[in-house]
């Protein structure tokens, strides 16, 4: 008999809690060491989502909030694969998506950036991976926007993602960036990631998925924590 044990978060890839250049971490980062869990059935379970949870236009942010026309901005198609560290596809897992519009403005009521809202764009969507772990969605390329972290602070163009994977240990919330963005080198959120991990957050331009006369293509893959089989302990 054996059971699956999930690898821990790879701290050479993930940002630390305390990252002083990103000022909001100062009062919000836990200061005590984490208590290590010996994995059990409790944390090796998690919510399951399916086709019925995803609406017909959830995967197309250019269509799912239209009022009187098309959203403004550069239409893009984003695709990729969700795997675990062993390269095994993660099928039928939920990806939730949210982002600013082409002008760098969020619909969120707290966002007071003086840039226009787009009546035909919400900026929220979701998609389920297929049996091979692949996903694809359509959206508008998000704009850069200013934030209050330091003088003249601007977030690079990015799309927010939330993923589940097979159980609560594989939960991941992250952001996808765009190749060649000059703001990346100044962004404390991106730079909070250890150098080894940064490139993995930058999508690649993909001419093969680019749809002629319609939308530029980008590829972005997700790698969730992997597992290995270990013998059951007999106590």
């Amino acid at each position: 008999m054996s059971q699956l044990i999930y690898n821990p978060f790879d701290r050479e890839m993930h940002p630390p809690y305390l990252s002083p250049e990103y000022k909001s971490t100062l009062l919000r980062a836990p200061s005590q060491p984490l208590v290590v869990v010996k994995q059990s059935l409790s944390e090796l379970s998690g919510p399951v989502f399916g086709d019925t949870n995803v609406g017909p236009l959830d995967h197309d942010l250019t269509k799912n909030a239209r009022r009187n026309g098309e959203p403004l901005g550069e239409r893009i198609v984003v695709h990729g694969k969700v795997t675990d560290e062993n390269g095994r596809p993660v099928p039928f897992t939920l990806i939730e998506i949210w982002q600013a519009n082409a002008a760098g403005r969020y619909v969120h009521k707290v966002d007071q950036h003086d840039a226009p809202l787009d009546p035909n764009f919400l900026g929220a969507g979701r998609v389920l991976t297929d049996a091979e772990g692949n996903y694809k969605f359509y959206t508008i390329k998000p704009g850069a926007y200013p934030w209050g972290n330091h003088h003249n602070a601007w977030r690079p163009n990015h799309i927010h993602f939330s993923l589940f994977g097979p159980n609560i240990t594989t939960r991941l919330v992250t952001q996808m960036y765009f190749p060649g963005d000059p703001l990346l080198q100044y962004d404390p959120i991106f730079l909070g990631v250890p150098p080894k991990g940064r490139d993995l957050l930058i999508s690649t331009f993909d001419l093969d998925i680019t749809e002629p006369a319609f939308a530029l293509g980008y590829r972005f893959d997700f790698v969730l924590r992997g597992s290995k089989a270990t013998p059951f302990e007999t106590v």
Binding site: P8, F9, D10, M13, H14, P15, P16, Y17, Y22, S24, T25, L26, L27, R28, A29, P30, S31, Q32, L34, V35, V36, V37, K38, Q39, L41, S42, E43, S45, P47, F49, A65, D84, E85, E96, I97, W98, A100, H108, K109, V110, L122, G123, A124, G125, R126, H160, S162, I168, R171, L172, V173, T174, Q175, G192, V193, G197, L200, L201, V223, L224
Partner: protein, 172 residues
Amino acid sequence: MLQTPSQTVGPYFAYGLTPEQYLYDFKSLVGNQLVDPLNTPDAITITGRVFDGQGQPIADAMIELWDPANKRFGRFGTGTDPQNRFVFQATKPGSVDGQAPHFWVIVFMRGQLIHSYTRLYFADEADLNAADPLLNTVPTERRATLLAQKAPGGYTFDIFMQGDNETVFFEV
């Protein structure tokens, strides 16, 4: 292959992850009712707040609650309640793997580049808590941070990111 790094949920997650709670025109997949309280006689309400290192309630945290016994999941943001509480309807979980009843609580917020995990145990389950393998690995003086306290209709569970009562967070 290398794990994709985590990034913060940021301040603007609500219309994507908790849209109905924040009154955005987008369907929520997950809400704060792990059970329907009208049809569940033993339903309990779990409320709490998340405090920063200066003792201020955090208004832009997102809390996820996982009941591993009943396999039920909920999600709530702290930005809609006037006191910045999170509120869940659930039932008290049963035992899994011989452990004391507990929920997993996953905490996301602006200012956290990676989410945190904690467990909610019940203060009125002293015997089961005393035998819980994970609780027993937590330093004695910090165990109380993991205990939800009985309140009318349910329990309260406050989360302290820092300070003297800093909540115990886990490496899962």
